[in-house]
């Protein structure tokens, strides 16, 4: 499995103003996200257990949380660029 994205590279340029170039350190958020993720996994596990005991067909919240995290990790390498006459925005997930 890939590591989660570490840096969000954001560049905003416009003819009227100085261009802004930011490296947002996403890795600083991951310790907090890890805590939330563990909490969400615990809640999902309990919910799935209850749903399973009640005989419900859908009891995949734990897998949903795990797959969401995996999808988040796959965002590395994504690039979004927008430009018009006034502004150019360039966002890269690294």
């Amino acid at each position: 499995m890939n590591l989660p994205p570490m840096i969000l590279n954001l560049r905003v340029a416009s003819p009227q103003r100085r261009s802004v170039h930011l490296w947002l350190p996403l890795f600083l958020l991951w310790p907090f996200a890890l805590l939330l993720g563990v909490l969400a996994l615990g809640v999902a596990l309990v919910a799935d257990g209850v749903l399973l005991l009640r005989g419900r067909r859908f009891h995949h919240y734990t897998v949903l949380v795990a797959r969401s995290f995996a999808a988040l990790c796959e965002t590395r390498g994504m690039v979004i660029r927008f430009s018009n006459e006034k502004t150019a925005v360039d966002m890269t997930v690294q």
Binding site: F58, L64, R67, A71, E74, G77, M78, V79, F82, N84
Partner: protein, 146 residues
């Protein structure tokens, strides 16, 4: 001896076909048997890494609007696959709401039909996909994998 082969030899023995015709028929049977026994695709020999590296890794969406707004998005294909796999795990109630909202906006896609086993095939098909839209007003949209 196969049933077809013995039938041809019986026809030859009975004088109903000539030796040349029998030979041609037997060759045709051999050719079709050889094709059936052949593997579905070419066997990969040697190191498969260069072939894997040559596969497209990103889905590109490029929109060039006539009014000057340009959007350029590069999405890892692995993210597309993960996203599609997530749809099969969305709770049914939420899925119904998503389907209703999509149909309200003119997109009648039923995400209940997205099965995990079909997703790899779908993503594999995306690699060969290319969408080019040239609108009358000058807007162009390009979607492709590279």
């Amino acid at each position: 001896m196969s049933e077809d082969r013995s039938r041809i030899l019986n026809l030859l023995a009975g004088g109903k076909i000539t030796a040349e015709e029998a030979e041609r028929l037997l060759d045709a049977i051999d050719a079709s048997a050889g094709a059936a026994a052949a593997p579905a695709g070419p066997a990969i020999q040697g190191d498969p890494e260069p072939l894997i590296a040559a596969l497209p890794k990103y889905l590109y969406v490029k929109v060039l609007a006539a009014n000057g707004d340009n959007v350029d998005v590069k999405i890892p294909i692995v993210l597309v696959r993960s996203g599609l796999k997530l749809t099969s795990l969305i709770p049914p109630l939420a899925m119904d709401k998503i389907n209703d909202t999509m149909s309200e906006h003119g997109m009648s896609v039923d995400f209940n039909n997205f099965k995990p086993e079909d997703i790899d095939e779908l993503v594999g098909g995306l690699r060969d996909m290319e969408v080019n839209v040239d609108a009358k007003n000058g807007d162009t949209v390009r979607v492709y994998c590279a």
